[in-house]
């Protein structure tokens, strides 16, 4: 245990260093996971939560090693099952701040069932989904988010499975928070993580994370040079403006989003789509921006930031509420438990 950790328990403000464990991350050099880990460690001290009240839960995969590298309580569980473990923990101990580190294979393939059901229940978990669109730990097989046509060791002729749209899946499953960020965009990621942590309910943060070994090209399009034209950063109450010179915007043509050139078409930003993260319908359309659409002259940019955030009662609050109601006239005693309500006397 480090000296800084002892200081933290003594009441001094925590720093990112307090959350570093004594284990050396065993991710490949250049892996996006390093950057995400750093931003998580940067985010935790800002939350005003005692260190001993943080728990990190994960499944299996490269990103699921994360709990070993954070000096909080943690469990590195089994493949696909991080969410039910986190749900059980949060239900038993609602006062803990529970984080989940998972990947595209862990959360969406083997853990797909848990993913949709945990979203609809809405326990207050902070879920970081490291999406590298590939299976890294098992060395390069395609995942449920791998793009169509990609040749991998298990798809030598190209992937024929249509990928999941994580945002649509989240929103369609009744999720209450969805955000997207890049691994390399540290400051922005930290902001998103902070918002996710403060969201009461299950927050799903999809991080586009590069696997330099098995899927290095996955997010190549989003180079610093191309990124302005290919992404739109969402800000609550602001119009959807993007492009290198901020000249492009999104308008809604009925339910169909279209890319407009603000100057050329003589538009003002007030004509554009104004982002409202609480609007489920808009979020559903935003979520579909990343789909390939035939017939589009210009593809829609990938939305980055908080696509959707809505207040929704959490699972643990609903359950503890029911328990409180059942105990309104006093908690059950041991005697009542053993006696039951159908006992009878034999004289």
């Amino acid at each position: 245990m480090s000296d800084t950790e002892l200081l933290a328990t003594a009441g001094a403000p925590l720093t990112a260093r307090d959350f570093a464990s004594d284990q050396e991350p065993k991710w490949c050099p250049g892996c996006g996971d390093h950057a995400v880990l750093q931003q998580i460690k940067n985010t935790l001290p800002d939350l005003g939560i005692k260190k001993e009240n943080f728990v990190f839960i994960s499944g299996i995969g490269c990103s699921s090693r994360l709990p070993y590298y954070v000096s909080t309580y943690g469990v590195h569980g089994i493949h696909g099952r991080a969410l039910p473990m986190a749900t059980g923990l949060k239900t038993a101990r609602p006062e803990l701040c529970v984080w989940v580190a998972t990947g595209d294979g862990d959360a969406l393939s083997i853990g797909g069932n848990h993913f949709i059901h945990t979203l609809r229940r809405n326990p207050d978990l902070n879920v970081v989904l490291f999406n590298n669109e590939i299976y890294g730990l098992t060395k390069g097989q395609y995942s449920p988010t791998t793009k169509l046509g990609l040749r991998t060791v298990t798809s030598p002729s190209g992937v024929i499975d249509h990928p999941f749209n994580t945002a649509s899946l989240t929103i369609g499953s009744g999720g209450s928070f969805f955000a997207r960020a890049f691994d390399r965009d540290g400051k922005f990621l930290r902001g998103v993580l902070t918002r996710a942590a403060k969201h009461k309910g299950m927050s799903l943060v999809e991080v586009y994370q590069n696997c330099p070994i098995f899927n290095n090209a996955a997010f190549e399009a989003f180079t610093p040079e191309n990124k302005p034209d290919l992404t739109v950063y969402l800000e609550q109450g602001n119009p959807l403006v993007f492009g290198k010179s901020g000249n492009k915007g999104i308008m809604l043509d009925g339910f169909r989003p279209i890319v407009v050139d603000i100057e050329q078409q003589g538009l003002s930003t007030s004509d554009l789509w104004i982002h409202d993260e609480t609007d489920l319908n808009k979020a559903s359309i935003l979520a579909r921006f990343t789909d390939d659409r035939e017939g589009d002259d210009e593809p829609l940019p990938c939305p980055i930031g908080i696509l959707f955030a809505q207040d929704k009662v959490t699972y643990e609050d609903a359950l503890t509420g029911q328990i409180a109601a059942a105990q309104a006239k006093g908690a059950g005693t041991f005697e009542e438990l053993l006696k039951g309500d159908n006992s009878y006397v034999i004289k």
Binding site: E52, P84, L96
Partner: protein, 628 residues
């Protein structure tokens, strides 16, 4: 049989020590309710009692067919009864399918009360009787005493002024039969009247109709000449004075988990997925919010156990309940619980397998899976309940072992125990063993570093619960380094940890009771070694064997299947032969042979039905004759 007294009825009263009754009818005939009501009345009167419902897995199989027959069997007596009866003395047959399906289990000379409307042409055809055959009329039941009663007609007559429609009136016919049985066994109907008023409090007309049907059945017994030659039966109460409740095995499991959590000062969490015949444990606990119980109905069996592992990591007494197919799905997570060394109770209510198998029928065929069904070397304690009430004590003990030894524990019940019920004298909190979880206290800055896998002399590591300052640590499925718990691929460390985990479980044998002989001599010719729900049948068979002069037969019943009690080998050596009856193809037989290098006699019954005392007695006599 002697006549004891005349009642208002002209029919004479005959004392009896015990009787086994089967209520059988179509699954829509309300046989479970009828049987349960009869059992309640018998229990409250102070009789010894054992019940067993037997129903199809279909919610509503085609009416009138054999596959749609639902039965409720019970035995009650003025002496202890441990089974619902090998054969029944009395059968209520609401239709011809019910008769056909159950006749083979009726004692020769037994009583059949048949609802004649269930033996019309259509019902006979649906039951598969040949054209023109009617067992009530063609003499094929000459070995039994048959009472054809036009139940439907009599119910309709009795309720013609009830204001109810014909359908609702017809639905009361089971209560008519119940009233008749109360008359036949000299039992009061007031308790049932009260229950019906409560049950139908929102529909008083229906309540009154049901009550009147009960009364009409009772009056019918008084008025009819039908039973004049037979007589009525009186079974005197036996139970000691005191406060009792009646529990099924599943209810007992639920109460035990809650009691264990309270005794240990912990919160109870159950992660569970509905599965027959284990679901009532979840249902019962879901209603126990007053005691702070948290239940989580998961999306699947895996989430059921994994959520419990999460809750256990969080410091709760965590449990999951399931049946065979569910336990199969949970095996990977069980391995995680083994390597995390956290407390977890897994209640497996066994049913006929493999695969979906016989969902509503009991079997003891998950012993191998419980003992060995995990990848890697992953031993864990396995214990078994032997009666509905014992489901309480077995589950409580499973929780105690889990919490005190930091391990997942499998507690085996089965579909027979789960749904059967028996009276249970209400116990006190003080009578329950203390449970002392090994919770690690907070660490002060000057204390040495916390080592998650540091063990005590029993090899038990401490439970460091999130929220405790200074104990932050990471657990997981990757092999742990000795003491530090850090990930380790070191070859020697893996071997050490595998051995430590195994020794930890074996050391539990130091703190569990020695095996005892339930009945019979300490040494002798034959030991009948049982486990689980065969207890009642073996116990009764041994009593019968002793009565018949086979004095050198004893009975030992295993609660602890892993690790075994330390003296088991010695006990097995005290008899010339060991007989192992099991509702499977010989699983304990293999285990005993493997462990003690002896050659016991196996006795398998794999019919989706529990053992009865007669077949075990026959087998005992066979084995003894061979020894001679």
């Amino acid at each position: 049989m002697t006549e004891i007294k005349e009642k208002s009825s002209t029919v004479h009263m005959i004392p009896k020590t015990s009787v086994s009754v089967l209520f059988a009818g179509d699954s829509g005939d309300g046989m479970q309710l009828t049987g349960t009501q009869f059992a309640n009345t018998v229990a409250v009167r102070g009789s010894e009692l054992n019940t067993f419902p037997n129903f199809p897995s279909e919610i509503r199989a085609p009416a009138g067919t054999i596959s749609g027959v639902s039965g409720f069997q019970l035995q009650f007596g003025s002496k202890p009864v441990y089974t619902p009866g090998a054969r029944f003395d009395v059968m209520i047959a609401m239709n011809s399918a019910a008769l056909k399906a159950n006749l083979k289990d009726l004692h020769r000379g037994g009583i059949i009360i048949a609802s004649t409307e269930g033996f019309d042409e259509k019902n006979l055809r649906l039951a598969g009787y040949p054209e023109g055959a009617n067992p009530l009329e063609d003499g094929t039941l000459s070995n039994y005493i048959v009472f054809p009663v036009p139940v439907l007609q009599l119910t309709r007559e009795a309720l013609k002024n009830s204001g109810l429609g014909m359908k609702e009136i017809d639905r009361c016919k089971n209560m008519f039969v119940l009233g008749l049985l109360y008359w036949l066994y000299n039992l009061p109907y007031e308790g049932t009247v009260e229950t019906l008023r409560e049950k139908f409090s929102k529909n008083p007309a229906v309540a009154e109709a049901n009550i009147n049907a009960v009364k009409a059945g009772h009056y019918f017994g008084d008025e009819t000449e039908l039973f004049a030659n037979l007589g009525r039966f009186d079974i005197s109460p036996h139970k000691q004075h005191g406060l009792y409740r009646r529990v099924t095995g599943n209810e007992a499991c639920a109460i035990a988990l809650t009691a264990a959590a309270k005794k240990a000062g912990l919160e109870l969490f159950l992660g569970s997925y509905p599965i027959t015949p284990a679901t009532e444990i979840l249902q019962t606990l879901a209603k126990m919010k007053k005691w702070g119980v948290k239940t989580f109905q998961a999306e699947d069996e895996i989430a059921g156990i994994v959520s419990s592992i999460g809750a256990a990591f969080g410091g709760a007494l965590a449990a999951t309940n399931t049946s065979g197919p569910g336990l199969a799905l949970k095996t990977e997570a069980l391995g995680l619980a083994v390597i995390m060394e956290i407390p977890l109770v897994v209640i497996n209510v066994q049913r006929g397998g493999p695969s979906t198998g016989l969902p509503t029928k009991p079997e003891q065929s998950d012993l191998f899976m419980s003992l060995y069904g995990r990848h890697g070397d992953a031993p864990l304690p396995v214990i078994a309940a032997c009666s509905p009430v014992d489901c309480f004590y077995a589950t409580y003990e499973a929780a105690r072992i889990a919490l005190e030894h930091m391990t997942p524990v499998i507690c085996l019940s089965d579909g027979y125990l789960a749904l059967s019920s028996e009276p249970w004298k209400v116990i006190t909190e003080e009578s329950l063993a203390d449970i002392n979880p090994k919770i690690q206290p907070a660490r002060k800055p000057e204390d040495p570093p916390y080592l998650p896998y540091k063990r005590n002399e029993q090899h038990v590591r401490a439970w460091a619960v999130p929220g405790t300052p200074g104990l932050e640590h990471r657990l997981g499925g990757l092999e742990k380094q000795h003491e530090t718990g850090n990930v380790s691929h070191d070859p020697d460390n893996h071997e050490l940890m595998t051995r430590l985990r195994a020794e930890k479980i074996e050391k539990i044998a130091d703190s569990i009771p020695l095996q005892t002989i339930d009945n019979g001599p300490e040494t002798g010719d034959l030991l009948v070694l049982g486990w689980g729900s065969s207890y009642g049948a073996i116990k009764t068979a041994i009593e019968n064997a002793h009565e018949e002069g086979y004095a050198s037969v004893a009975h030992a019943h295993l609660r602890y299947l892993y690790p075994f009690p330390k003296n088991l080998g010695q006990i097995l050596g005290n008899y010339k032969k060991v007989l192992i009856p099991e509702n499977n193809n010989g699983q304990l037989l293999h285990v005993i042979r493997d462990r003690f290098l002896i050659e016991p006699v196996g006795f398998s019954k794999i019919k989706g039905l529990p053992f009865n005392e007669m077949e075990i007695l026959d087998k005992i006599i066979d084995v003894i004759k061979e020894l001679e």
